[in-house]
């Protein structure tokens, strides 16, 4: 007989612990059988007792002590120490003896687990009456919840029933149902919700909440002046229709599906076109794609009847996990990948930890080990076999039918998947047929073979359909809880990825169910202003936007973060589990970075496309095993986009984001941490990103107005969206004056550590070359350069024996036009750490052109030479490893280049200003001959312009030393420096004020 059918015959009020009973039935158990003195009945009295107290160890699998109490046969067989029942003498039965003495169940952590007296008595009566066990009845450990694990009667596995919305007389029938559910427990305690938040606060809250950005000033003004009854609703509608809405809420989804742009591990390859998945998610949310379609596409977009490029892109969900192209054992690695996919799927859509059942039956939830493999079969059919690493562990674009990063099956028939003993691939046991989780008893748990015309197994399609079946009790509950959590800071279930035994119980179970029911079967108008047609909001089932609107229109959402009775309530409910006030929240990493850009007026709202690579401090780049060129930041103007477009490389996540608790990209993340640690303060105090924002803003304000008063006002408005109070204005002005004085003083008295110019001759340590067109140039009768003497003691003189290849000496400059170059004597550099200076002009417009180089194809250093030169219009190159070393400006006038290959980083300066930096350059071959004016011995890539001086050191100069030589060279060669960085004390002082405001709690927290 089928075990589960029997289970369904068990009276429902015996299926759960008291807590569960309250959940599923509410009241009834006062009529329970415990007071009845009738003889014990197996299904009513004994089965629950055995399951709760005995079966954890004495089941057919574990068979602790050789005993299983799952069936009559097991009980009759007894255990290692013999029979457990003695005929005719109940009290002497070892079963009862051991239970009576408290030996069984064994104490846990020194705590007795002895049966309560009444339970023991029922057991005794049953044994005494002959221990009658119904024919064929096999107990199932998952039938019911015990004190240590959940059964299939667990609350989250029960059908969703739409509860009655509580109404109270104080509020009329137009009340948002959410408020009814929230108010009832408050009212029962005699508590009151917090008063409504003021308009400014509300606008800031709802704007951050829905689009992840602060409101702009005009929006504040408009909202504060709008007296119409639907003013707030129109704001909500505007935000829900904004393209930034999908970016904000898409980010939450990307956290959940472990999105990153690379694979991780040694090569950390780019997941080609993974960003299309990111864009798909954003678009789906903006278009309010119904959640059932959203799920179907991600799990089985390739198997849908109406599949297209976008649905195949969506299957990228299955490929976002880390992928090791060099696993220890490629065959075994398949099972790690299965685990990743099972985990991502069951976590994201079902809030269950199915992966725990890979090695054994789930210890806490009703998920037998076979269920893990039943679900895993869906992914087993995919391209999981080891193959060339160019496929990045998945199907090729040809196999997908589109040039995208997606997933599909190997065919319609695939080899069977075996259950693994202890999850170990070395120990395959029986074949497991594909199927759904058995924890949900009222849904068909089978998976059928694919129809004849199918090219895939359609297992994922069936899995997805099972997930979005409107009877699935988990899907809608898990989703509405996520929405609630991101709106309020905490979910109704505070463990968003775990609705099982180890998860948190819902604070408002009925509200959770009502929201879930409302998601699937929209019924409630639910919106405050009845006359108003809720524009652009769908009434379709599974609509995200509808739920969003319902939530943010509620009074619960709109209440203040400050409650007049805060201390009293917080003493009892510090976690605000009753929602008697709004939670004050810190901006997350993405919103913080976006807000800084917005405050400076620089935020670029371009949507979609490949991600940008942010500038990362060289110190952080040290963590990469591959250095040269391993991280090339995108041009600064591309770095002004929203954080969701950041390229996420798994071996190098941007420190500015991770320090503010950006998600780890390895595992599904349902809720980011919120820590408060000193490195966050360091980042906001010192990171260049923040300083640049404050300087840009200060510059803009000074351009707008000369009045210091107005500048202060406008700084506050730009950053905190309000004018300062009188006191704040005074403090700001004081700061401004003080800092301006300080910076003025700094400018007049150079810092103590500033030392005067130093000529290369004076800074002689490591000096290996000093060429100056002013000195030591010998020319032939045509005025062409045949020799150029090294002024350093190293004797690396330059010369050109071939008349046609000699450059011309013109006005103290050596002019290279056409195919001219000079050869250097001897071995210029020996150390991987070195410094090159060059004073040049450039007339080239395209193609590579070399100033100094030891490139030598014959000596096979075609990629490992050292050279300094330009390419394209104005791009500097300092070795192939640093191929984009910044952009050079004003090339027709003499300029100074300084290139330092240092122990931690390589930097390039033009006229003393940093134009490029990256991680250390390694692996250079320095032993080949050196030339000036072309790319080594290539006889091509000639310099087009003047070369005036070249200085080389066989070591990395310190910043101070570099500056000293730069100053000397620039003076010597009459290079006028345009000051690029702001040194105007007034500007720096205003920037300092802006910087402080960007560090305030008011900026960082949303009330």
């Amino acid at each position: 007989m089928n075990v589960r059918t029997i289970f369904l015959n068990v009276p429902p009020f015996l299926r759960g612990s008291i807590g569960q009973l309250a959940m599923s039935l509410g009241v009834v158990f006062a009529t329970g059988p415990s007071t009845v003195a009738a003889p014990p009945e197996f299904d009513w009295d004994i089965a629950p007792l055995l399951i709760r107290h005995c079966l954890e160890c004495h089941n057919d699998t574990a068979k602790t002590g050789g005993l299983s109490l799952m069936s009559a046969e097991g009980m009759q067989q007894g255990g290692d120490s013999g029979p457990v029942l003695v005929a005719d003498s109940a009290d002497e039965s070892p079963l009862l003896q051991r239970v009576r003495t408290g030996e069984m169940p064994p104490p846990k952590e020194d705590e007795s687990q002895a049966l309560p007296a009444h339970e023991y008595e029922r057991l005794r009566q049953w044994v005494a009456a002959g221990a009658k066990w119904p024919d064929g009845r096999v107990l199932d450990p998952y039938e019911q919840t015990t004190e240590s694990r959940a059964g299939r009667d667990w609350w989250s596995l029960q059908p969703i029933k739409r509860p009655q919305v509580p109404v109270d007389s104080e509020h009329d029938s137009t009340m948002n149902p959410i408020d009814g559910f929230i108010r009832r427990p408050l009212t029962e305690r005699g508590w009151q919700s917090a008063p409504p938040a003021d308009r400014r606060t509300l606008l800031r809250r709802v704007t951050y909440d829905l689009i992840g950005l602060p409101p702009i000033l005009d929006e504040y003004v408009a909202f504060e002046q709008d007296d119409s009854s639907d003013a707030y609703e129109r704001v909500v509608d505007r935000l829900l229709a904004s393209p930034q809405f999908g970016e904000r809420w898409g980010r939450y989804w990307l956290d959940l599906v472990r999105y990153a742009d690379t694979c991780g591990y040694e090569r950390d390859q780019e997941k080609t076109r993974a960003w299309k998945y990111r864009d798909w998610v954003i678009a789906a949310i903006n278009d309010d794609m119904p959640y059932d379609q959203f799920v179907l596409a991600q799990l089985a977009g390739d198997e849908l009847p109406d599949r297209d490029e976008s649905t195949v892109i969506a299957t990228g969900f299955l490929r976002l996990g880390t992928w090791n192209d060099e696993p220890n054992d490629p065959q075994e690695y398949k099972y790690e990948r299965l685990e990743d996919m099972v985990h991502a799927t069951s976590t994201a859509f079902l809030g269950l930890t199915v992966k725990c059942a890979r090695c054994h039956d789930h210890k806490f939830d009703p998920i037998p080990q076979t269920d893990y493999y039943r679900m895993a079969s869906a992914f087993w059919a995919g391209q999981i076999e080891p193959r060339d690493r160019k496929y990045l562990g998945g199907p090729s674009p040809e196999e997908l039918g589109f040039d995208v990063f997606g997933w599909t099956d190997r065919g319609r028939v695939v080899p069977p998947l075996h259950l693994l003993k202890n999850g170990d691939p070395k120990h395959p046991l029986e074949i497991v047929e594909p199927g759904q989780l058995t924890a949900v008893t009222f849904l068909d748990d089978s998976i059928s073979p694919p129809p004849a015309e199918a090219s895939t197994t359609q297992r994922r399609l069936q899995l997805a359909r099972w997930i979005v079946d409107e009877s699935n009790p988990l899907t809608a509950r898990v989703l509405v809880n996520r929405l609630w959590q991101h709106h309020f800071g905490e979910g109704l279930v505070r463990t968003p990825n775990n609705f099982g035994f180890n998860g948190d119980a819902p604070t408002h179970p009925e509200l959770l169910d009502w929201l879930a029911a409302e998601l699937i079967h929209p019924m409630s108008q639910g919106l405050r202003d009845k006359g108003q047609e809720p524009s652009a909001i769908s009434h379709q089932p599974w609509s995200f936007k509808r739920l969003h609107k319902l939530i943010v229109m509620s009074d619960t959402y709109r209440q203040s973060a400050d409650h007049p009775l805060h201390d009293e309530y917080a003493g009892i409910d510090p976690g605000n589990r009753l929602w008697w006030r709004s939670n004050r929240r810190r901006l997350d990493a993405d919103a913080l970075r976006d807000s800084l850009l917005a405050a400076s007026g620089q935020l670029d709202l371009t949507t979609g496309g490949p991600g940008f690579k942010p500038t990362i401090d060289p110190e952080a780049l040290e963590g990469l095993s591959k250095k040269g060129g391993a991280w090339q930041a995108s041009p600064p103007e591309q770095q002004l986009r929203r954080s969701i477009y950041t390229y996420l490389q798994r071996s190098l996540l941007p420190p500015m984001l991770t320090v503010f608790d950006q998600q780890d990209t390895t595992l599904p993340c349902g809720q980011r941490d919120v820590t408060t640690v000193a490195p966050q303060a360091l980042a906001l105090m010192n990171n260049d990103f923040v300083h640049v924002r404050s300087e840009v803003l200060a510059g803009r304000l000074i351009d707008q107005t000369d009045s210091v008063d107005s500048q202060v006002n406008e700084a506050w408005r730009a950053i905190l969206s309000r004018a300062p109070t009188a006191q704040e204005r005074r403090a700001s002005l004081d700061h401004l004056h003080l800092m301006q004085q300080r910076f003025q003083q700094q400018r007049e008295t150079p810092p103590e550590n500033q030392t005067p110019d130093v000529s290369p001759q004076l800074l002689s340590e490591g000096l290996t070359l000093h060429l100056s067109a002013r000195d030591g140039v010998t020319t032939d009768s045509d005025g062409r350069v045949e020799g150029w003497s090294d002024l350093s003691p190293s004797g690396h003189h330059a010369s050109q024996p071939n008349i046609e290849s000699r450059p011309l000496l013109v006005d103290g400059r050596i002019r290279f036009e056409g195919q001219q170059w000079l050869a250097l004597d001897g071995q210029l550099l020996n150390s991987p750490e070195h410094t090159l200076f060059a004073v040049v002009t450039d007339k080239g417009t395209t193609g590579h052109r070399g100033i100094i180089s030891n490139w030598n194809g014959a000596a096979s250093n075609s990629t490992s030479s050292v050279f300094l030169g330009l390419t394209g219009e104005s791009t500097l190159r300092f070795t192939d490893a640093f191929g984009n070393a910044g952009s050079v400006t004003n090339r027709d006038r003499p300029f100074l280049l300084s290139a330092v290959s240092g122990p931690y980083q390589a930097t390039v300066h033009q006229n003393g200003e940093l134009i490029g930096s990256q991680s250390q350059i390694t692996g250079r071959n320095l032993s080949t001959p050196w030339v000036i004016g072309q790319q080594g011995n290539i006889n091509g890539e000639y310099w087009q312009g003047d070369i005036i001086a070249i200085v080389a050191y066989d070591r990395a100069l310190s910043d101070t030393e570099r500056q000293q030589v730069e100053q000397w060279l620039m003076r010597e060669h009459d290079i006028e420096v345009e000051v690029a960085t702001p040194t105007d004390p007034a500007l720096l002082a205003l920037a300092s004020l802006c910087h402080v405001l960007m560090n305030t709690n008011e900026f960082l927290y949303v009330d």
């Binding site: 846990k108 705590e111 991780g264 591990y265 040694e266 880390t322 090791n324 696993p327 220890n328 930890t353 725990c356 905490e490 505070r494 400050d562 409650h563 805060h566 201390d567 409910d573 510090p574 976690g575 589990r577 401090d617 110190e619 040290e622 963590g623 990469l624 095993s625 591959k626 250095k627 798994r650 071996s651 190098l652 320090v659 608790d661 780890d664 595992l667 941490d673 919120v674 820590t675 408060t676 640690v677 000193a678 303060a681 360091l682 105090m685 990171n687 704040e728 700061h735 800092m739 300080r742 810092p751 122990p903 390694t922 720096l988 910087h995 402080v996 405001l997 305030t1000 008011e1002 927290y1005």
Partner: protein, 490 residues
């Protein structure tokens, strides 16, 4: 042995408190509980808040059992040194030179490289100290400290590839995403000095380890437990200094204004513990700006000390500085310091495919004197009793060459050597054995999880009790594996 206090339903105090309602505004709860001495009672690895949220988890905590160890220095030989050429003397290899490894010894030939012939040690072994432990000439200075070392010759691990083996040595599993050993240490015991990070990683100038950041990540734990990359010169931590014009005095002015504005903001808000925490974090950061550069300022050390570490000389300068900084960090209460020797790929690390003699000669010379000086220095200052020093790579190397007369060796996860020194460690011993070829661990094998269990044990932590509740499961460093290696305990 003490256990975490139990609360109703078998949950720990942490879970209990959480369920009582320490939700989002956990910091408010912090304040409530601080009053009744709650934090004074925090046990190892215990948190007042769910899933490590909040920085309170960093405060010092009681260990599971008494231990003299306060700090760990992990000398990570990135790239994998050869055991038969360093700490695992195999005289039989002389007899087998040029012969095949017996065919019953199965292995994966990593990277599909050639399988060559058994090759004896490239440098001679000599006895060191009173114990007479045999150590090769790649480590003549460390050999002088043989009596301090517990050499484990029977290590084995789960991967033959650098990327996953490094991650395994650091996090316990071959896949990325789990907290590293240092994160467990800081999570378990908190940190003593809040002006410095509790967990510091110093990389080799030549590059980071393969797989990068996940090697010092806090994985699913809060980012507060992640390793902090430390640069051995100047301003060692990221974002420690701003632009030049904002010197310390100017920054003080900024912070004073900030404090004023934040106070004003706070005064009109209720229950603002999180706001107060952030205000305090700025003062902490301001102190860190002074403390971190001070910690790496080696000019405070005598010339004699610097010379002992080989600072100012090649090839010891870099690792010498790092070792001396490690001592200074340990003195200042930093919980866990990891120093990488070798960075990037292949010969830039201990990955001696081309030539043992060339590679180990080079890297051995870089680290031998500095490590010996560190052991000596810790000892003389009485710090060795409270410090655990760990030496080793992510796996070992094969006893055979990569071809006829080829002088390099391929990866070997089946048997390799590591050593421990310091408080609680039995010095001058070797533990476990590989077979006669030095190929695989055969006597008392020590899996890397056993090693991790032992390291935690030495720190006063029980690897089975030190758990972190994540997604419905109590995760631990060793997971279902791991036994403390009693044989190396004093």
């Amino acid at each position: 042995m003490s256990q975490q206090p139990r609360f109703p339903c078998g949950h720990t105090r942490r879970e209990f408190v959480w369920e009582m309602g320490a939700g989002f505004t956990g910091t408010a709860l912090t304040a409530l509980l601080a009053g009744d001495g709650f934090f004074n009672q925090l046990q190892a690895g215990e948190l007042p808040l769910p899933d490590g949220r909040g920085s309170e988890g960093l405060m010092p905590k009681k260990s599971h059992h008494p231990s003299p160890i306060k700090s760990v220095i992990f000398l990570m030989m990135n790239g994998a040194p050869s055991q038969v050429d360093t700490f695992d003397y195999k005289p039989e290899l002389e007899n087998y030179a040029g012969k095949d490894l017996p065919p019953d010894k199965e292995f994966i030939n990593s990277g599909g490289r050639k399988k060559g012939f058994l090759t004896p040690a490239w440098r001679p072994f000599r006895p060191g100290g009173e114990s007479g432990l045999l150590i090769s000439d790649y480590f003549p200075n460390v050999r002088k400290h043989a009596d301090k070392l517990a050499v484990i010759n029977s290590c084995h691990t789960d991967s033959h590839a650098h990327g996953s083996a490094l991650v395994a040595m650091n996090t316990g599993k071959t896949f990325i995403g789990r907290p590293s050993l240092g994160s467990w240490a800081v999570y378990g015991l908190g940190t003593e000095n809040h002006d410095l990070p509790g967990y510091v990683v110093i990389l080799d100038k030549r590059g980071g380890p393969i797989s990068g950041q996940p090697n010092w990540s806090s994985g699913f734990m809060s980012a507060a437990y992640a390793g902090t990359l430390f640069r051995p010169t100047g301003t060692p931590i990221l974002d420690l200094a701003g632009p030049e014009h904002l010197d310390r005095k100017a920054q003080r002015e900024q912070l004073d204004l900030l404090a004023k504005l934040n106070e004003e903001h706070l005064s009109s808000r209720k229950g603002g513990q999180q706001l107060v925490d952030r205000i305090n974090s700025y003062e902490l950061a301001y102190r860190m700006q002074a403390a971190a550069p001070e910690a790496v300022d080696l000019s405070q050390e005598t010339q004699q000390t610097q010379d002992a570490y080989g600072i100012g000389q090649q090839p010891t300068d870099e690792y010498g500085r790092n070792c001396l900084i490690a001592r200074r960090l340990v003195e200042r209460g930093v919980r866990f310091v990891q120093l990488y020797s070798g960075g990037g790929h292949l010969e830039e690390t201990w990955d001696a495919h081309e030539s043992i003699e060339k590679n180990h000669g080079r890297h051995g010379a870089e680290v031998d004197q500095p490590i010996a000086a560190l052991l000596d220095d810790l000892d003389q200052r009485g710090l060795l009793d409270s410090t655990l020093v760990i030496w080793g790579g992510e796996f070992g190397r094969m006893p055979f060459s990569e071809g006829k007369d080829a002088p390099g060796r391929n990866h070997n996860p089946y048997g390799f050597s590591m050593w421990l020194a310091g408080g609680g460690v039995k010095g001058g011993i070797k533990y476990g054995e590989t077979d006669e070829f030095g190929f695989e661990a055969v006597v008392n094998p020590v899996h890397l999880s056993d090693l991790h269990a032992t390291i935690l044990h030495l720190m006063g932590l029980d690897h089975e009790l030190l758990t972190y509740f994540h997604q419905g499961r109590k995760e631990s460093l060793t997971d279902v594996r791991g036994h403390v290696v009693e044989g190396v305990l004093a």
